[in-house]
C-alpha cells in the first residue's frame, strides 16, 4: 500500500467507515456563503473530505479548483472533481499540476454530464480524454511524465511530479451492470484508488453489486443524494440515469407534512447508510446545499 497523501486516504487505510460530503461552487462570484457553510457544518472529525463539483450538470458556474483551494484555506480537506467534458488533455494535465501546487491531493475523475444537459447546450463537447484516460494521465504525472512525447518518442519529463489520491465513480443500480463493472475495472487498472458511487436508494441491489465487484480491491463509498421532496424523488427516477428511488421512500416523503420533511429526509439518508454500511467502506453525502443536515445524517446512521 502506498503511503497516504491525504487524511481521506489515511482514514480509509485505517479501516474507518469514511464520510465525505459535497459542495458546489455558485453561478457567480459569491462563493463566501458556500465556504462559510462548509466551515460551519462540514468541518468536523466525522467528515473526512468534501468534494467540490466541476461545472455540475453542465450548468456554467465557478470552478472546482477555486472551491477546493478555499476549502483547504478553511482547514477542510477537498476532493477535487474533474470532468473531461470541458478541457482537452493539455488543460486537464495542467490543471492537475496546478491543483497539486495548491495543495490539493484527492481528485475524482469523471466524464461529466453532456453539454446538452446544461445551460450552454450549444457549447462544444470536448471529451478528448474519458474518465479512464484521465486517471491514467494522473498515474503518468505521478511517475514524472505527461501524455506527450519528445522528438525521440520518449515521454516528456516533469520538473517535479505530483502524488494524488485518485478516485472514480460508478453507477451500481443501472439496469445493465456488466458494462459498468468492466469500465470500473479499467478505471482501477488506470490507477483509481477509491470509488464514490452514483446515488443509491436500494440497499439490496447495492449489496448484490458489491458482491459482483468483490474482486476489485478498492474502497467504495456509497453515494447518498438527499431527497428533499417527493417531487424531487420522482424527478430523479425520471431524469437521472441509473437511479431508482423505490415507491415506499417517495410515499413516505409525500405523506410527511412540510415542517417535518427535513427530518424525514435526514432519517431516510441515515437508514440507507445504516443498511449498507456493512458492505462498503464509507458514504458520500450529496446534500445539495443542505450542509446543515450532514451531522444529523451521520447521527441517524448511528455512526
Amino acid at each position: 500500500m502506498s503511503e497516504a497523501v491525504s487524511k481521506f486516504q489515511r482514514n480509509l487505510d485505517a479501516g474507518k467507515f469514511v464520510i465525505t460530503a459535497e459542495i458546489g461552487p455558485p453561478k457567480g462570484t459569491n462563493i463566501a456563503p458556500v465556504i462559510e457553510g462548509a466551515r460551519k457544518h462540514l468541518k468536523s472529525g466525522k467528515v473526512s473530505a468534501v468534494n467540490v463539483t466541476d461545472i455540475q450538470t453542465a450548468v456554467m458556474r465557478a470552478g472546482s479548483m477555486v472551491g477546493a483551494k478555499l476549502l483547504l484555506d478553511a482547514g477542510i480537506e477537498p476532493v477535487l472533481q474533474m470532468v473531461t467534458r470541458d478541457r482537452n488533455r493539455l488543460a486537464l494535465q495542467s490543471d492537475l499540476l496546478s491543483a497539486y501546487i495548491l495543495g490539493i491531493r484527492n481528485v475524482l475523475a469523471l466524464t461529466g454530464d453532456h453539454v446538452t444537459m446544461g445551460d450552454h447546450p450549444q457549447a462544444m463537447p470536448v471529451y478528448d480524454l474519458d474518465s479512464v484516460l484521465l486517471l491514467q494521465a494522473m498515474t503518468n504525472l505521478e511517475a514524472g511524465t505527461d501524455m506527450g512525447v519528445d522528438l525521440k518518442g520518449n515521454p516528456n519529463r516533469l520538473d517535479g511530479s505530483p502524488t494524488f489520491f485518485k478516485g472514480a465513480c460508478v453507477t451500481p443500480c443501472t439496469e445493465e451492470v456488466e458494462p459498468q463493472i468492466i469500465k470500473l475495472e479499467k478505471k482501477v487498472e488506470a490507477g483509481a484508488q477509491f470509488i464514490q458511487t452514483q446515488a443509491v436508494y436500494e440497499p439490496a441491489a447495492f449489496e448484490k453489486f458489491m458482491k459482483r465487484i468483490e474482486h476489485i480491491d478498492v474502497p467504495v463509498l456509497v453515494g447518498i443524494v438527499m431527497l428533499k421532496t417527493a417531487g424531487m424523488a420522482k424527478y430523479m427516477n425520471r431524469s437521472v440515469p441509473g437511479v431508482v428511488v423505490p415507491d415506499d421512500i417517495i410515499q413516505r416523503l409525500a405523506d410527511t407534512p412540510k415542517e417535518d420533511r427535513q427530518k424525514v429526509s435526514i432519517d431516510i439518508c441515515g437508514e440507507l447508510i445504516s443498511a449498507m454500511k456493512d458492505c462498503c467502506r464509507g458514504a458520500h453525502l450529496m446534500t445539495l446545499g443542505w450542509d446543515h443536515c450532514v451531522a444529523g445524517i451521520i447521527e441517524a446512521a448511528g455512526l
Partner: protein
C-alpha cells in the same frame, strides 16, 4: 454516403437577394440518393424560387440544371448551361461540391442550398442515420462494428458512461446508448475481451486536429509525374 438537408427557404432567399440571374444546380451524387439535392429537387427549388420572386415582384430568373457529381472536374463538361452566364450558382451539392465548384469557376459566386450533415445510411424509407464521423482512425475492428466515435454522444473510447439510461443516451431518450450497443454486440460475438482492453487516447491529428487532410496514392502520383517528364 454524404447526407445533406436543404437549408430553410428564408436563408436561401436572403443569400440570393443580390443576384438577378441564378443557376440552380443539382448534384447526382450522394445528395440525389438521399433525395435532397438531386435533379428533381433542383427543379422543385428553382420553381419555388420563381414563384416566390413573382409574388414579391422581384426581377430574378432561376434556371435549373444537374450534373452527375459536383466534386469532380470531368462532370462539369456535362453542364447544359454556361456557368459564367449567371450572376450566381445555387448549388444543391454537399460542402465538397460547393467548394470544388468555386475553385473551378472562380469568377462566379457558388452558394450552398444545403447543410451538409453527416456520413450515413438510409435505414428506412425517408430516414437516414449517421454512421461515420470520418475520424481518420477507424476503431470498428474492436467495437463489434459499431462506431463509438459516432454512436456515443461523447465519443468515448473506453466504454459506457454513467449517462446510459435503460439502453438510451442521457442526451436524448430516442438515441440508443452507443456503448451499450457495442457491449451487447461484443458479448454476442464472444469478444468482451475487446471491451476490457484499456484504449489509449486518440491522435486527433488524424481527425480535425492537424488541419486539412489529404489522400495521396503515391503509385498514381508517381505515374503522373513520370508521364509528364
Amino acid at each position: 454516403m454524404i447526407v445533406a438537408e436543404r437549408k430553410p427557404m428564408e436563408e436561401i432567399v436572403e443569400m440570393l437577394a443580390p443576384y438577378k440571374k441564378v443557376l440552380v444546380l443539382g448534384c447526382g451524387g450522394c445528395v440525389a440518393v438521399c433525395l435532397t439535392g438531386g435533379e428533381r429537387q433542383a427543379e422543385m427549388l428553382a420553381s419555388q424560387l420563381r414563384i416566390l420572386a413573382r409574388r414579391q415582384d422581384r426581377q430574378a430568373s432561376f434556371t435549373e440544371d444537374c450534373i452527375t457529381r459536383q466534386c469532380e472536374r470531368e462532370f462539369f463538361d456535362d453542364l447544359n448551361e454556361n456557368v459564367e452566364d449567371f450572376d450566381a450558382v445555387l448549388s444543391l451539392a454537399c460542402g465538397a461540391g460547393v467548394q470544388y465548384m468555386s475553385e473551378v469557376f472562380p469568377s462566379v459566386p457558388i452558394l450552398p442550398a444545403m447543410n451538409t450533415t453527416f456520413l450515413g445510411s438510409n435505414v428506412a424509407p425517408g430516414k437516414w442515420d449517421e454512421y461515420c464521423r470520418g475520424c481518420g482512425d477507424c476503431v470498428l475492428a474492436w467495437t463489434g462494428g459499431i462506431c463509438p466515435i459516432t454512436k456515443c454522444s461523447k465519443s468515448l473510447i473506453n466504454g459506457t458512461c454513467g449517462g446510459t439510461n435503460n439502453g438510451k443516451c442521457e442526451v436524448n431518450d430516442e438515441m440508443d446508448c452507443g456503448w451499450l450497443l457495442i457491449y451487447k454486440r461484443l458479448k454476442e460475438l464472444g469478444r468482451l475481451d475487446e471491451y476490457r482492453k484499456l484504449r489509449p487516447a486518440r491522435d486527433h491529428r488524424k481527425d480535425r486536429g492537424g488541419g486539412v487532410r489529404r489522400l495521396i496514392l503515391s503509385e498514381m502520383t508517381e505515374e503522373e509525374e513520370e508521364a509528364a517528364q
